[in-house]
């Protein structure tokens, strides 16, 4: 089978890209107050780690990294389902998804 050979892209660029994506995700978590957007930024961080794992797996010629990415996707899907269910029940009680309202556990 013919390959899309990628020898021209250095591995450092993938490291840089996933570092940047991870930092954008962290910035989103600190930046926004809407809990749904915060969960989306957590997804962004998980995806940056996935991209890093796939790039290491491809460049080192080992399949294990891609299997780990598969499991990370499984955990992310479960996390999103539970998190959104929690958000819906919070919204039903407080009529808001603002995380600054949910500060009762601080005391």
């Amino acid at each position: 089978m013919k390959e899309i050979a990628l020898n021209s892209v250095p591995h450092n660029w993938y490291l840089l890209l996933s570092t940047l994506l991870f930092c954008i995700g962290i910035m989103g978590v600190l930046f926004r107050r809407n809990a749904i957007i915060i969960m989306m930024c957590i997804e962004l961080m998980l995806n940056s780690v996935n991209l890093l794992l796939v790039s290491f797996s491809a460049y080192s010629g080992n399949t294990d990294g891609q299997v780990f990415v598969f499991f990370i996707m499984v955990v992310a899907a479960a996390e999103v389902a539970v998190g959104l269910a929690l958000l819906i029940s919070v919204y039903r009680n407080l009529a808001s998804t603002d995380i600054d309202i949910l500060s009762k556990l601080k005391w």
Binding site: L51, A81, S89
Partner: protein, 164 residues
Amino acid sequence: MSQYLFFLLSALTIISALYVVFSKNPMYSVLSLIVCFFTIAGHYILLNAQFLAIVHIIVYAGAIMVLFLFVVMLLNLNKETEPHKSKWIKVAAVITSGMLFLVLIASLRTADIGTFKLPEYNSIGYIQNVGSKLFTDFLLPFEVSTILFMSAMIGAVLLAKKEK
């Protein structure tokens, strides 16, 4: 050729990720996150991980983002109801993440990660190889993940149910 594709996909990924953070309307955030996931799937195809690219599109764009979209529509979130932090907290958030980025880049510059080169012929991302790995070496985690999914599903139904 592949370098240009890499730059194009990376630019799209970063712009859409930034738009997720800075967009005022949650609906636009969700839609640009879908664009971001599609470009990441493009990166997987460039890295010759076809199985993961397909699974990524099916799981993220097909299931997770639809769930997000449903919740945003169900809760009727829009520009007017969107809460906002004060200006100083936003500036602090940008500075904090920028400093983390600087620290990570500075440590990556001197790190010895080995000199990997993508082999001329690599078929490790094909569905045959990933599948045989998944069902031989990683069989137990694969079965455990089904229990995780089951409990997550039951938990989600239980949490979202109306209290009597």
